[in-house]
Amino acid sequence: MTMNNVGRPTAPGAAATASGHTSLTGARGLLQDEPLIFELGGWDKTGVDFDPPDHDAYDLGDLVRTAPIGIPGLSEPETLRHYVRLSQKNHAIDLALYPLGSCTMKHNPRLNEKMARLPGFADLHPLQPQSTAQGALELMDRLAHWLKTLTGMPAVALTPKAGAHGELCGLLCIKAAHEAAGNGDRRRVLVPTSAHGTNPATAAFVGYSVEEIAQTADGRVDLADLEAKLGPDVAAIMVTNPNTCGLFEREIIEIARITHAHGAYFYCDGANFNAIVGRVRPGDLGVDAMHINLHKTFSTPHGGGGPGAGPVVLSEALAPFAPAPWLVHGPDGLELVEEARDQAAQTFGRMCAFQGQMGMFVRAYAYMRSHGSDGLRQVAEDAVLNANYIKAVLSAEMTPAFPDGPCMHEALFDDHWLEGTGVTTLDFAKAMIDEGFHPMTMYFPLVVHGAMLIEPTETESKRELDRFCDALLALARAAKAGDVERFTGAPYLAPLSRLDETMAARKPKLTWRPEHATPLAAE
């Protein structure tokens, strides 16, 4: 053993072999237990310094709030420590591959963050004179041009604030178009069983009844079933392409043709646009409306659940019904039009208070400009290549749901290969956490039993893909070898073990209240 000059050992010795060790405080090295802000903060403490107001504020009589609000404060160092400690309990793309199928968890370039924070974008008021925001409007116009060119569609509504909001926008356009044509009695929307939950929810939200379209054995829309269900009362079909099984709808052009032949519109869920960007234009497939999740394909950060952005590209037939405001080239430059001024525009209304997610527009545009037409094509190719590679490698131990032919940007497995092991898809996913990876999307799409939907995206290196595949193969072998506890009790190494969701739902505690206080280290 080496010693330094005051006798401090510098080799690990026996310390390195200790296992199953627990700390006295509940902390695990760098990972600290962290109370809620309400248990930490002071009612008279603040982390900001203001000068006292020049005027006495209280001339509002009994409109003034006298009771305590109940918001504790912290100094700046305490605030930093609180939230940085909390951050360390999160998985993130920047830590490891994040294979959530249908979510497109790709790298978020930091240049885009820097651009969105330029005061010329971030510190603009939505209602300041448009003559003082021409650069912002120009950016929106350029973004619109890129989105239209990449999709081959003539128009785009920029304002929807997320994918589901985009779906709502698209269906409202469709509804308005039918009403304008005297077809307001079309009440049904057809949605494949494999669709995202937002599709039927959106259709129902705008007052349509929803009917499911069956799926073929090879994971695509059943054309015969679609044709049988189409009729004079169908307003639209909503089809995801590539679909949620990670497959391109081979008959997509025929799907569009028969839909149009029945007087219905074709809404395409563009959640999976990343697979085809730069290579295939939805406009060439007969799509009438499609939302684009800027937070997926164009890499605006997911931020723990938003904000997203869901611009909707529209066909000529639907363009006149787009929501306000829209952008026009006027005599004095670009202009946002808030209300219909002539017969050409038959807007269905408004999606949100202002002109959409400008902060996301800046990021998405910076992303597009960085990639260019060549880079975006490479995005789709590498995304599809990575997914097919994972499918090929993992097929050694796992069963792909649709083994024949290539997949697109995500690889879908069922739980057939887990039969008899005593391990479920959920267990397997939780064991991935112990190996340092975020689980894949599970039990979705609903059409595949015990589904595991893996979307690596194009921003993973071959080394990371191999690391991921090696981990999953090792887990699969462990499951098959009867190492069941590794799975049923997983995760063991996460900040917390499995949480009781039933308890959370039965007696919901949705806010902290003093009487709810549970001392952190009570157990």
Partner: protein, 445 residues
């Protein structure tokens, strides 16, 4: 390409493992007619430097609010946000994580959401709040839809003081759902006028305080009238900092409180992303839209947080969901929560008092210059200026962005002489003096 790690060698090797001849083989399912062989007619890839130059040039053509005298409000307010807020939200673990579907490795996001929900409930004086909506306007529309589910009635009354864009969003959604919206004519101080329109067919009344003209209203009597008729009261607030000075919607009897949270932590961003606040009475929680985070225990009995009551949501209930919302405004909710943790009750009250104090100073400075139309205000007032829109354009020459003409929000309302002026703690006495002098010059007084 700097964001794409695969090398040509990697690609060749991987195609070999897959057993595909080339990349085109993987796109074999795409109909031949739709396969684009050539690159699209768009510029090719660009380096960081080039992109920075292009976007920098676009940004330079805009006039940021912080560049000088600035009085715009009407639903978006420029407050000072401490530097540490933006620093924390840019941490990888917050910025690059997804919706917390795997609670064991998302406790950071989940605990923040629980703190956010508690803060929003406290600010609004309600029992529970959700994990955020897209913005205040969509929160307002969702609240009206929720009132329909709760009461099984199909009519909503909107006061003439509700922000016209909020009213338009609500009308758009309500129309699609087959609900009737009665929107009262724009009026400066007439929230209480909704009382006369309440009857037993009304699902909810929607009032705003401070309203779009800046008027602060005690809505207690409106709540009483709504409840007597079996209707819900929805209170809208577009300036969340006002919760630091004014009586909360909950204290005044609101059943649902919705608000734009942008003023706290988020910034202006030319209209988005923002963060919608949505809070209600506990008994209504199962009809709420959006994500909810709840407290529970893990297998070892340790406290933790999960997304809960998801049987209301689209990914479980599909067409029977309470809303189609999926992604919300997580990172903005985080910014809101951090800023509010820094402020605390003390800081929030100071910020609100300062904003209100500036408004008093503004009203004083406009004495004898133009008529102030707002009788009771927080930090925003409506003033009478003939052809307000032209006045704002003219004052740009003096380096002053002189607020929002009401006609910008509602061109057809016939209120072309109403100008909305907002101030916050960022407004200086010099700003106020400059505006007053410029308006005086223009109005010839």
């Amino acid at each position: 390409m700097r964001y794409l790690p695969l090398t040509p060698d990697d690609r060749a090797q991987m195609l070999g493992v897959i057993g595909a001849a080339d990349i085109d083989a993987l796109f074999a399912d795409v109909p031949a007619a739709a396969r684009k062989r050539e690159l699209f007619d768009l510029p090719k890839r660009a380096g960081e430097l080039e992109v920075e130059r292009e976007l920098g040039a676009l940004a330079a053509r805009n006039r940021p609010a912080g560049d000088g005298t600035f009085f715009c409000g009407a639903g978006a307010y420029r407050h000072h946000v401490p530097a540490s807020v933006d620093h924390i939200i840019q941490r990888s673990e917050f910025l690059t994580s997804y919706t917390p579907y795997q609670p064991e490795i998302a406790q950071g996001t989940l605990q923040v959401l629980f703190e956010f929900q508690t803060q929003v409930a406290a600010l609004t004086g309600m029992d529970v709040a959700n994990a955020s909506m897209y913005d205040g306007s969509t929160a307002c529309a969702e609240a009206v839809m929720m009132a329909k589910r709760v009461t099984r009635r199909e009519k909503a009354i909107l006061s003439g003081g509700v922000h016209p864009h909020y009213a338009a969003v609500t009308q758009t959604i309500a129309h699609a759902e087959g609900m009737t919206i009665v929107r009262q004519a724009a009026a400066i101080d007439a929230e209480a006028a909704v009382i006369d329109a309440i009857d037993s067919t009304v699902a909810c009344v929607v009032v705003q305080t401070p309203n779009v003209f800046g008027v602060v209203t005690d809505v207690t009597k409106i709540a009483e009238a709504a409840h007597a008729a079996g209707a819900l009261l929805i209170v809208v607030t577009t300036e969340a900092v006002s919760f630091g000075l004014l009586k909360s919607p909950g204290e005044m009897g609101a059943d649902i409180a919705v608000a734009e949270g942008q003023s706290i932590g988020v910034g202006l961003n030319y209209g988005g992303p923002y963060v919608g606040l949505f809070a209600c009475r506990e008994k209504l929680v199962r009809q709420m839209p959006g994500r909810l985070c709840g407290e529970t225990l893990d297998a070892q009995g340790r406290r933790g947080y999960v997304l809960t009551l998801s049987t209301r949501e689209q990914h479980i209930r599909r067409e029977k969901a309470t809303s189609n919302i999926c992604t919300n405004s997580g990172l903005c909710a985080l910014a809101f929560t951090i800023h509010l943790s820094l402020l605390g009750e003390v800081g929030l009250r100071q910020m609100a008092a300062l904003s209100h104090s500036r408004a008093r100073e503004l009203v004083g400075a406009l004495n004898g210059v133009c008529e102030v139309l707002t009788p009771r205000y927080f930090n925003e007032i409506a003033v009478r200026v003939p052809n307000a829109s032209a006045a704002v354009e003219a004052l740009l020459a003096d380096g002053i962005v002189a607020g929002v003409p009401y006609s910008r929000l509602a061109p057809e309302a016939g209120l072309d002489d109403v100008l909305l002026l907002a101030v916050t703690e960022t407004t200086t006495s010099a700003d106020i003096a400059a505006l007053s002098a410029a308006l005086k010059g223009r109005l010839g007084r």
